[in-house]
């Protein structure tokens, strides 16, 4: 049955081309690429600006609303006038979806919703909703309070913006409106990161955001259904990267910490409350246990409370091992890692301290840094990206003299180490995801400025699908070929069976005739009689008529008889009648003869046939135009 329906829907595409053509989802990418040279080598890997507009089945959806971290002026925000010149964004956009809390994916959100103006729905997962405003506020403080920039969103704007957010659960289908539905999938990458499946009618798009196909110590791997979307929009940050193994990264991290401890130095690890901090703590705890190390490890108290709070809330977003552990004990009840007190920073001897914030722009991490920076035995390990204007950014650029408040300068003598633990899918991961989702078209975004013709070729060869890599501001249009499910009436099926012929091959499409009716948002194929009945319509007959002139010297009845004889000899197997009312009938075709008023030798034949006998009618008119053969009696 299923196959029949499929084959039938193919047929319905042919018979109603206007409907098929209406489905042209447009994909428009808005400054999805960053071409800026990076100030820190490799530091920009998480940086860019993601903001993608997708038009699908008449709906407009904005995917992410990121900020460019490399600019200090308006260029850091997407150009929203690109979307509507004069109109309001709320009128144009059906919804905004944010994939995760990194600023290059959500940093322009308060600007867009509160300063440009957007009041429609904004979707993000629960963890993203909880963490995103903290990061936005952190960044606002750095930009406005520290650097004194104006024309930036306020704390109140962040709050107002977050009020417009509707939280998403994993694998829960959310109906944005009657036609548009979205569903979030686990993306790994950071706590709360999601891929999203967007569906309008039978068409769909998947947007990955940033994702990671290999599990790490605290997050699982990205996963998605075999949902066969029309388009898969994937990030490609590491598409041309073959990553050094996690083991080597971790080994080097432990080596650095260990060496510093061994020489009696202190290690500061500035972290954001969530994400890598947990991973690095687990790593150090295990190492301390195995190596039987005695130097104390501390984490700042604010960090514990925040982290525990969020991990309790979002434990389902971590990996299985952590979930199991959490049942038994608190995430931060480590044997070797203890709560930090600010007085400890002056203690003699080696120690390791995890402290917030991660970019050394304020708070405890900055205080400790100031205390320890003067000693070359010490070390600071920066496990993530730092925005411009922060101490973190400066020391990663190799700056060794820092201007502090009140004209004081700080000599940086301690060792600075930069380690990237960011988790993105590489080329192999992208291929894995394509294999999982089986999209019909592929779009790569968030990549580097380099060309990726090779990867495009690889995807196109391996999966026989088209792959697009839109440049900044470029619009691409992908034509889809949706199959439209149609219900078919049992009567029609029975009639089709009764007509005989070979039994249908379930693997082959088969043409069926019927009337397609749209009723209450569903399509139904029924017999024409039933369609008339259901729609309360009268049946109309359509007849074609034509005149054929003929030179024939006989009387009208004789000519008619000659036609009758001629057709009898030509059309074998057809019902041909010479009726007493002066007409000849071939099936439903009626032929009459009259003489021309001017010339009795010129006969005018009147032909008339129904729509169903169009083929035969045309044939007869052509035949009779050639005249009658001589020798007919």
């Amino acid at each position: 049955m299923q196959h029949k329906i499929q084959s039938l829907t193919q047929d319905s595409n042919h018979t109603s081309p206007s409907r098929a053509e209406r489905f042209h989802p447009k994909l428009l990418t808005l400054q999805a690429h960053a071409n800026q040279p990076r100030s820190v080598e490799g530091a920009g890997q998480d940086v860019g600006r993601s903001c993608i507009l997708v038009s699908i089945g008449g709906k407009n959806i904005m995917l992410d609303c990121g900020m460019h971290m490399g600019y200090n002026d308006d260029r850091r925000f997407p150009d929203f006038s690109y979307i509507t010149q004069n109109g309001r964004l709320t009128d144009f956009l059906d919804c905004v979806i944010i994939s995760h809390f990194h600023l290059d994916h959500c940093g322009a959100l308060p600007y867009m919703s509160e300063m440009v103006g957007y009041d429609g729905p904004i979707y993000m997962t629960h963890p993203t909703k909880a963490i995103c405003p903290i990061l936005l506020e952190d960044f606002r403080k750095i930009t406005v309070d520290k650097k004194g920039e104006t024309n930036f969103f306020t704390s109140q704007m962040i709050k107002d913006c977050m009020k417009k957010v509707i939280p998403l659960n994993l694998h829960q289908t959310v109906q944005v409106d009657d036609e548009l539905e979205i569903k979030a999938y686990y993306a790994g990458h950071v706590l709360g990161a999601a891929m999203v499946h967007i569906k309008v009618g039978s068409e769909s798009v998947v947007y990955t955001g940033d994702y990671n196909m290999t599990p790490d110590r605290h997050l699982g791997a990205a996963w998605i259904d075999k949902c066969r979307p029309d388009i898969l929009i994937s990030e490609s940050t590491y598409a041309t990267t073959i990553r050094d193994s996690k083991r080597c990264r971790e080994r080097d991290f432990l080596k650095k910490v260990h060496e510093t401890i061994e020489r009696g130095g202190k290690v500061l690890i500035p972290v954001f409350a969530l994400g890598r901090a947990q991973e690095l703590c687990i790593l150090l705890e295990t190492f301390w246990e195995r190596m039987n190390l005695k130097a104390p490890i501390y984490f700042s108290t604010g960090l514990t409370e925040k982290a525990n709070h969020y991990y309790k809330l979002f434990i389902t977003w971590t990996n299985q091992k952590i979930r199991k552990t959490f049942v038994q004990r608190n995430m931060f009840e480590f044997k070797h890692i203890k709560a930090f007190d600010r007085s400890y920073a002056d203690n003699p001897g080696p120690m390791v301290v995890f402290a917030t914030p991660g970019m050394l722009h304020a708070g405890q991490s900055l205080q400790i840094f100031k205390k320890w920076a003067g000693n070359e035995k010490n070390m600071v390990i920066m496990p993530g990206y730092c925005v411009q204007g922060t101490i973190g950014h400066k020391i990663l650029n190799g700056q060794r003299k820092l201007e502090m408040e009140g004209r004081a300068t700080l000599d940086v003598k301690l060792q600075v180490e930069y380690m990237s633990f960011s988790a993105h899918a590489d080329a192999k991961g992208i291929m894995q995801l394509i294999r999982m989702a089986e999209p019909r078209n592929m779009v790569l975004v968030h990549g580097e400025a380099v060309k990726m013709e090779f990867l495009k070729g690889k995807i196109e060869q391996e999966f026989s699908i088209d792959c697009y890599m839109p440049a900044n501001g470029e619009t691409i249009t992908v034509t889809t070929n949706p199959s439209v499910p149609v219900d078919i009436s049992l009567n029609l099926l029975k009639r089709e069976m009764a007509l005989g012929g070979p039994l249908p091959d379930p693997k082959k499409p088969r043409t069926m005739h019927g009337t397609l009716i749209m009723k209450e948002n569903s399509l139904k194929l029924v017999s024409s009689e039933q369609a008339l009945k259901e729609l309360g319509l009268n049946e109309h007959q359509l007849r074609f008529t034509c005149r054929v002139q003929l030179q024939d010297p006989h009387s009208d009845p004789d000519t008619l008889h000659r036609i009758y004889t001629h057709l009898k000899s030509v059309l074998k197997g057809y019902t041909i009648q010479h009726l007493p009312d002066g007409t000849v009938m071939v099936e439903s075709i009626v032929i009459k003869v009259s003489s021309s008023a001017e010339d009795t030798n010129t006969k005018v034949l009147l032909l008339s046939w129904s729509y169903q006998d169009e083929d035969l009618g045309s044939f007869l008119s052509t035949l009779l135009k050639k005249g009658l053969p001589s020798g007919l009696c």
């Binding site: 990267t241 073959i242 080597c248």
Partner: protein, 399 residues
């Protein structure tokens, strides 16, 4: 982990989608690798991580990944790949025929490696199983390569025109295992039966042949040989190492290839293997060091196995997955057992490898970095590629 941290200055571990049998430098920072499955393979040009080359502020450089800078597709296995120095040209062989493919590695404007042509191999004798070609290249304008599957095949071909510029004058069907330019014109051809030929592309004179010394004890199995010549500004100072499948290594002086300056019985031997299964190479920037990898097992292990080994796990597994570094400066003219100076076993302890029933991981290739003395790249049958800068423990102990 804590144990290995003292053994390496740098160690980076990568996983390719498909294993490679070739690792070829295309510049000081880029290498080519390629798959060798029967059909559909990729040729990739990879850029090594910046961190590896950062001498100052190494800690500030977080970039430790390979970048795929160029890539291309081929429908044949790639058993041999040679970059033509000074060009963006590479030549590959499939190990099955003596025909070669020519590739444009692509420039800054494109990331695609494209096939630009092919070279017909020369086959003197029919009916002999062909085998793949060895290839050697040196800076030349226009680009030329030296190639052949057996001694009588060896020829110098201009890449763009396909014109044969030189043919080796020999009727010998000795199968080649490697070709090496010793200078602009003089080259050395190592054969898998242990013969070495030296010839000059400027003359049509017959090559000079140096056979290997007879194997000490005939084991009944035929002995295979692999050869490498040390590169240097002065070809007269060139030294040649020959490694046999029984684990015997011979170092000869170019002026007297028939004799051995020094010799050693390495801690390895190999059985049931082909010419592609073992690599032996001189360190280009370190005196007297030789790296050995491939389908090799420790001699002691095979000896033990011949008697009665009750070892629960296959002892073969751990060692063919290793790259060994030997210091040939301590070898003498007397055949003595030599212990490796360093052993990289990273491929064998790869997390991909699990319990019994899994074929042992084999090192498929290794190369030295042309300038950094102790940096090597190695690849294995599980698709792993390691970049490692090893620490000379013996030198450290002496201090």
């Amino acid at each position: 982990e804590e144990r290995t941290s003292g053994l390496y200055k740098d160690l980076h571990v990568y996983q390719l989608e498909h294993p490679t049998q070739v690792i070829e430098w295309t510049s000081g920072r880029t290498v080519c690798v390629a798959g060798f499955s029967p059909s559909k393979n990729e040729i990739l040009e990879l850029r090594l991580p910046r961190k590896l080359f950062a001498d100052e502020n190494k800690g500030l450089c977080a970039e430790r990944d390979f970048k795929v800078v160029h890539g291309g597709f081929t429908d044949r296995p790639v058993r041999c790949l040679r970059h033509v120095p000074g060009t963006r040209c590479a030549v590959t062989g499939d190990g099955l025929s003596s025909n070669l493919q020519v590739w444009d590695l692509g420039g800054d404007d494109s990331d695609v490696i494209r096939r630009t042509g092919s070279i017909e191999g020369r086959r003197r004798r029919t009916g002999v199983s062909e085998g793949g070609s060895s290839i050697a290249a040196r800076p030349s304008s226009p680009p030329q390569i030296l190639h052949g599957a057996q001694i009588s095949d060896v020829q110098l071909t201009e890449l763009s025109s396909g014109q044969t510029l030189y043919q080796l004058e020999s009727d010998s069907a000795d199968p080649l295992s490697s070709l090496h330019f010793l200078s602009d014109a003089v080259f050395l051809a190592g054969c898998s039966n242990g013969n070495i030929y030296v010839a000059d592309t400027r003359t049509s004179a017959a090559p000079q042949l140096s056979p290997p010394p007879p194997p000490p004890v005939s084991s009944g199995e035929s002995v295979l040989w692999w050869t490498d010549a040390s590169a240097g500004p002065d070809p007269s100072g060139c030294r040649v190492v020959r490694l046999s499948s029984s684990g015997q290594a011979l170092v000869s002086d170019l002026r007297n290839l028939g004799g051995a300056v020094s010799r050693a019985q390495l801690d390895v031997q190999t059985r049931r293997c082909g010419p592609d299964d073992v690599r032996v190479s001189w360190a280009p920037a370190l005196d007297d060091c030789i790296a050995v990898s491939g389908r090799l097992v420790p001699k002691a292990t095979t000896d033990k196995m011949r008697t009665a080994s009750k070892s629960s796990h296959s002892p073969l597994a751990g060692f063919s997955g290793a790259v060994q570094i030997y210091d040939a400066s301590v070898w003498t003219s007397e055949l003595q057992e030599a212990r490796p100076l360093f052993e990289h076993r990273g491929h064998a302890v790869s997390p991909e490898q699990s319990d019994d029933g899994v074929p042992p991981i084999l090192v498929t290739s290794h190369v030295w970095h042309p300038e950094r003395p102790r940096t090597l790249l190695s690849a294995a049958s599980d698709g792993s590629v390691h970049v490692w800068d090893w620490v000379d423990q013996s030198a450290a102990d002496k201090r």
